[in-house]
Amino acid sequence: MTSEQRTAAPATRVELPPEESTLDATALTSLPSGRALLEPHRIALMAVGAGIVFCAAWFLRWDWLPNYAGAIVSGVGVTLLMLASTSVLGFFLAVPLGLVQVTGPWWLSLPAQGFCTIIRGTPLLLQLWLLYYGLGSLFPQFPEIRQSFLWPYLREAWPYGVAALTLSFAAYEGEVMRGAFTGVPRGELEAARAYGMSRWKLFWRIWLPRAVHRALPTLNGETVLQLKATPLVATITVIDVYAVISKVRQVTFLTYEPLLLLALIYLILTALLVAAFRYFEKRIPTRSA
């Protein structure tokens, strides 16, 4: 799934960054710009869309909506919290995971590589259940854990959801960052050394920002995927927006309406994510060769 950022080994000649927003190629993760909205095929599509919205509003039942609006909003809140916390935490894990694979000694890079391979090679749902039903049922057997200050949290479901989603994000992003670190032209790192930077400074001032910048388009796509992985936590009793909608369907016996709303909610969240990433990508323009 993760498109590895395998850029060709940077040549010694003028290195123009090839990282023109890769998004534009992938439909759902890109947004058309204002002017492009006026192209004929877009206008036609918008008309179709408006038709669908009209039919949905006219022929389907929406009277249940006010009753559940509060629950849905709080569900969206939980989903967003899951997404934000796990992608931020996951990213902080991903940076060292990627870095040690590029420069670390074997006893760091090998475990990192193993971690990424295993997590990426198994279904997220499996990992989630292993953590929740496996670890979660082991913990109560240890009195030390039951008496620790962590116990009130470990009894709940969400920490396991956060843990599983974080580890998964870290593994995929670890791969992305590995590629991004490798792809930073050697000459730029060499210039940093030649100007007397310590390794620490070189990393924080040059290598990391440069790698993150390179990785942004990929990170964008990965974060959208992460958003769409969050409903899995509903399977371990976390009440995210997906869980709320499932509940609505059970109670109201409605099939389509809640699902349509759910789709709309995820679409809007995705659009917001893409817009946010695009803002950051634009802050440092790269030349489209």
Binding site: E190, A191, A194, M197, S198, K201, I206, R210, R287
Partner: protein, 257 residues
């Protein structure tokens, strides 16, 4: 006339890459204000020599001293040398302005950010002062209007001039140029050589690796011809180009026209 102080002194420098012996005992002194041009065929070890001066490449044996301060080296487990004091190397590097063939500007920073980076974050110059000096340098290399542009949007010649401003910004004791015009389109070479020529005129200490023979002849006070890892011949430009002694040098000069 009193001898000027030694800015860079290299003694018996050898460098091996595995079995390949690239530099076989090179001694060279650059005094304050001297412009030394290093010429020689491809693969003769010019870049390697330059990179040994600021320890981007660690010599296999020999010594390098900057302004009389010798860079401390010790042998490592595998029998090679490593700097014994990383801090010393960083401190000395921070006063050697290196200009690369491929510019190596930091692409995630604007031109002015590139220029103030080392002064601020290595030398600890306050931001306002770094910017003021940086802007003066950009004006001097004719890039003031590009101060907030990212390097990818500049031509090669502009990038190299920005890289020279970056090197000047650390107020270097000496400048090291490694073929600064080799990656440029022919029509852009002139603007960069112009800037370097001006620097030579103000008596900055410079070591310059170049394939531009005419330029070397015009600006250098001393020419070093490197061949097969040794200094085959050296002397003032008139002698090197007007009356070369060694066969290799004669061949090299006639082939580079």
């Amino acid at each position: 006339m009193t001898e000027r102080a030694e800015a860079i002194a290299v003694r018996d420098l050898c460098k091996r890459f595995g079995a390949l012996e690239v530099l076989k005992g090179i001694s060279l002194t650059a005094r304050e204000g001297e412009v030394i041009a290093i010429i020689g065929g491809s693969g003769s070890g010019k870049s390697t020599f330059l990179r040994c001066i600021n320890m981007l490449e660690v010599p296999s044996s020999g010594s390098v001293a900057i302004r009389g301060e010798e860079i401390a080296l010790r042998s490592d487990r595998r029998g090679g040398l490593v700097p014994s004091d990383r801090r010393q190397v960083q401190r000395l590097r921070a006063r050697l302005g290196m200009v690369f063939q491929s510019f190596n500007l930091w692409q995630h920073m604007t031109i002015i950010q590139n220029v103030i980076e080392a002064p601020m974050h290595v030398l600890g110059v306050p931001r306002a002062e770094a910017i003021e000096r940086g802007e003066a340098l950009l004006r001097r290399v004719g890039l003031f209007d590009k101060r907030d542009v990212y390097p990818a949007f500049l031509s090669g010649g502009q990038q190299q001039r920005a890289a020279i401003a970056r090197a000047l910004a650390i107020q270097p004791h000496a400048m090291l140029f490694d073929e600064p015009t080799s990656a440029l389109d022919p029509e852009l070479v002139g603007e960069v050589l112009g800037v370097i020529g001006d620097l030579a005129k103000e008596q900055r200490t410079m070591i310059l690796v170049t394939h531009e023979m005419k330029f070397a002849r015009d600006v250098a006070s001393h020419i070093v011809f490197l061949a097969h890892g040794v200094i085959e011949e050296q002397g003032p430009p008139e002698q090197i180009f007007g009356d070369p002694k060694s066969e290799l040098l004669k061949k090299f000069i006639s082939s580079s026209h």
